[in-house]
Structure formats: structure tokens, C-alpha cells
């Protein structure tokens, strides 16, 4: 065997070992991973009567502070006019279409830019598709806020505790100096519950489920409806879908 042949043999074996390692690792014990997604039905959510059931539920369950100063506001889920959310769409629609309030939250992208830039990996993408926050590791650099194309993240400029009306003891608060955002209610999903916003919506405008399950509400919804994603051209592959009215 020549030296060249020996080196080629080593390279191929190494490659083979890596492949073998990868396949055994993923085959052990676990079923197919979930891919959590949400579908917002804009037709059902169109009642402009000031309903904020989903926002109130989310912020109550997660101890999100209610800060009136717009510079220091913290929000996990909120409403944005349609014209601002989808700036390239609806140009020829009537003003009331462009002004209709649309629910906005973290999109839990498949390819999240916030995770790519986080220097400590305090934000990371879980196997089930949820983009998680580890508040213990966050250093508050706000690079993720700069990277997020959707403005979904909030920074705690001030100590949030005085601004929380009633602290829910089943969930921690955050401290000054960390970035927070919607977490798809991962602590509720772990107990088999639906996210707080989905459960609290009186019009049943929010659907949540596993995209990998063809029978889930979101899969069926997306198969049969035309759906919008925010800034789809960026390649982030967001997992919050909007069904136009």
C-alpha cells in the first residue's frame, strides 16, 4: 500500500465512523421529533372589539411586566397593524385592511438568526423546534434583538417585579438585564397543555400543533388554506402562519 492509499483509507474510515455515530445516536429510543407551529386565523381574529384575551393570558402566566414607558416595554405577544406586519402585501387594500390588528409573536424559526448570533448560546433551538431562552446564561448583550428580523424580543431595561400585577408563583420572573420572548409555553407543553394564548382565545382563532403529525390541527389547516409567513424571503423559515381573512 502506498502512503497515498493509506491516507485515503484513514480519511474514508474516519468519515464512515462519523456517519455510523450519527445514525446510532438518532436511532436510540426516541420517536420522530415534534415540530411545533402555530396558525393564526385572521378571519376569526378580526373582531376589532379590543379583545386581548391571548395577550392577557400569556403575560399573566409568565409574569411579564406591564411597563407603560414604551422604551422599556416588555412583551411576548402583541398586535401590529397588518400593513406594518406584511409591508409588501395589501398595498391596494382598503385602509381598514391595512390597519387590522394582527397577532405578533416570536416565530420560532427553523433557521433562527437570533440563535446564530448569540455569543453564549443562551438562546438555542430545541429539537422540537422551539427557540428557547436560558435566562441563566443570557448576558444581556442584545445581539439577538438586533438579529431578529421580526422584533420579537424584549429587553428588561428595569427590574420587572414592581410592574407585575400578580406574580404567578408557578413560574419564575426574570431579572433586569436579560432578553425575553415567547417560548411557545414550553412548560405547559411539557405537561400536555396547549399554550396559554391558544387556550384563552374566545374565537378559537389560534391553532397550535405538530407539523410532523399529518393529523394535527396546524397540518390540516396548512394543507387546505393559503397561508402567509412574515418575511418568508429571508430564509428564516418561521413557524407562525397567518391565514388571510
Amino acid at each position: 500500500m502506498t502512503r497515498r492509499e493509506f491516507l485515503e483509507f484513514l480519511a474514508l474510515s474516519g468519515f464512515g465512523l462519523v456517519l455510523a455515530g450519527k445514525s446510532t445516536a438518532s436511532a436510540v429510543g426516541r420517536g420522530p421529533a415534534k415540530k411545533w407551529a402555530m396558525v393564526v386565523d385572521l378571519d376569526r381574529c378580526a373582531k376589532d372589539d379590543g379583545c386581548v384575551d391571548c395577550i392577557a393570558a400569556c403575560h399573566r402566566v409568565h409574569n411579564v411586566p406591564n411597563i407603560s414607558d414604551p422604551r422599556h416595554q416588555v412583551k411576548w405577544i402583541w398586535t401590529t397593524p397588518f400593513g406594518r406586519l406584511f409591508p409588501e402585501q395589501g398595498r391596494y387594500g382598503e385602509r381598514q385592511i391595512r390597519e387590522q390588528k394582527v397577532l405578533t409573536l416570536c416565530n420560532h424559526c427553523e433557521n433562527p438568526p437570533c440563535v446564530a448570533v448569540c455569543p453564549t448560546k443562551a438562546t438555542f433551538r430545541r429539537d422540537d423546534g422551539i427557540v428557547m431562552m436560558d435566562y441563566h446564561r443570557c448576558i444581556g448583550c442584545r445581539y439577538c434583538m438586533a438579529a431578529c428580523p421580526y422584533g420579537a424580543r424584549s429587553f428588561n431595561w428595569v427590574d420587572p417585579r414592581p410592574y407585575i400585577q400578580t406574580i404567578d408563583k408557578g413560574y419564575p420572573t426574570r431579572t433586569r438585564g436579560v432578553v425575553e420572548k415567547c417560548n411557545f409555553c414550553e412548560e405547559r407543553l411539557a405537561k400536555g397543555l396547549a399554550p396559554a394564548c391558544v387556550e384563552s382565545c374566545r374565537e378559537k382563532a389560534l391553532a397550535f400543533g405538530d407539523l410532523n403529525d399529518p393529523d394535527s390541527a396546524v397540518s390540516r389547516s396548512l394543507r387546505s388554506h393559503f397561508a402567509l409567513q412574515r418575511k418568508a424571503e429571508l430564509g428564516t423559515a418561521p413557524k407562525v402562519f397567518y391565514l388571510p381573512a
Partner: protein, 131 residues
């Protein structure tokens, strides 16, 4: 040596300064006793792990739990005695040890280790001002 009286005087003063904390410690009643912790009001006698293990390793345990729950999504903990617990400071630990002043603070006020857990993690009774 030169200046013998001055040197001896300074040596005695320095020794007095060095020994003074120990004299104060002896003179103060109760200062040498270790902190006394109050057990949970619910009457639960057994913690997740034995007392000696928890005294030495509760921080390592919490670190392990944090890593597992937050970063790996695994919440089931198999204790050394075979029982299974849900890994959660908020629900499992604070569920029993619900009074910070009578439990956590007893040691942590005495010892110069001030954990920052309570900046975020709340307690049922005094969660709002836990600092």
C-alpha cells in the same frame, strides 16, 4: 536590636488586632453555633437526597437540574433511593421549603455566599420582595 521598646509595643498591638475577632467570637453568646434550619411546614421529612448530601451538594444538584430541564428538556430525576422527582426549583424544592427566611436565609445570611437565584425564582409567601 534598635528601638526595642517601640518594636515590642507594635508587635503587641498587631497581635491584639489579629486576635480580636476570636475574642469577640468567644465573648458573643451563640456566635459559634451553626445556623438552625426550619424544616418544611408540611411535615415532609425526606428530601430528594439525604441531608448530608444536600448540605454539600445542593448547588451541584441544582446546576444539574437546570442543565437538564432548560437545555435538554428532561424533567424526570431518579433519586439515589430510587424515587422519581420532577426537576424544578420552583415546584419541587420550593414546594416543600416554602419559607425562604426560615430555611435558605438561615445559612446564606450567616455564610458569605449570596445566591442570586431569588432575583427570578419566587416563593409562595414572600416571593415579591425576595432579594
Amino acid at each position: 536590636m534598635y528601638d526595642k521598646p517601640l518594636i515590642f509595643f507594635i508587635i503587641i498591638v498587631v497581635l491584639a488586632i489579629v486576635v480580636s475577632p476570636f475574642i469577640y467570637w468567644r465573648a458573643t453568646p451563640g456566635a459559634s453555633l451553626p445556623p438552625k434550619l426550619e424544616l418544611p411546614p408540611g411535615g415532609e421529612k425526606r428530601c430528594v437526597e439525604p441531608v448530608e448530601f444536600m448540605r454539600k451538594h445542593h448547588v451541584d444538584l441544582l446546576d444539574q437540574w437546570r442543565q437538564s430541564v432548560v437545555r435538554e428538556g428532561r424533567v424526570k430525576y431518579a433519586a439515589s433511593d430510587g424515587r422519581e422527582y420532577t426537576m424544578s426549583l420552583t415546584n419541587t424544592c420550593i414546594g416543600c421549603h416554602s419559607n425562604k427566611a426560615k430555611f435558605c436565609d438561615r445559612c446564606h445570611d450567616y455564610v458569605p455566599v449570596k445566591p442570586r437565584c431569588w432575583d427570578c425564582h419566587t416563593f409562595p409567601d414572600k416571593g415579591d420582595t425576595a432579594k
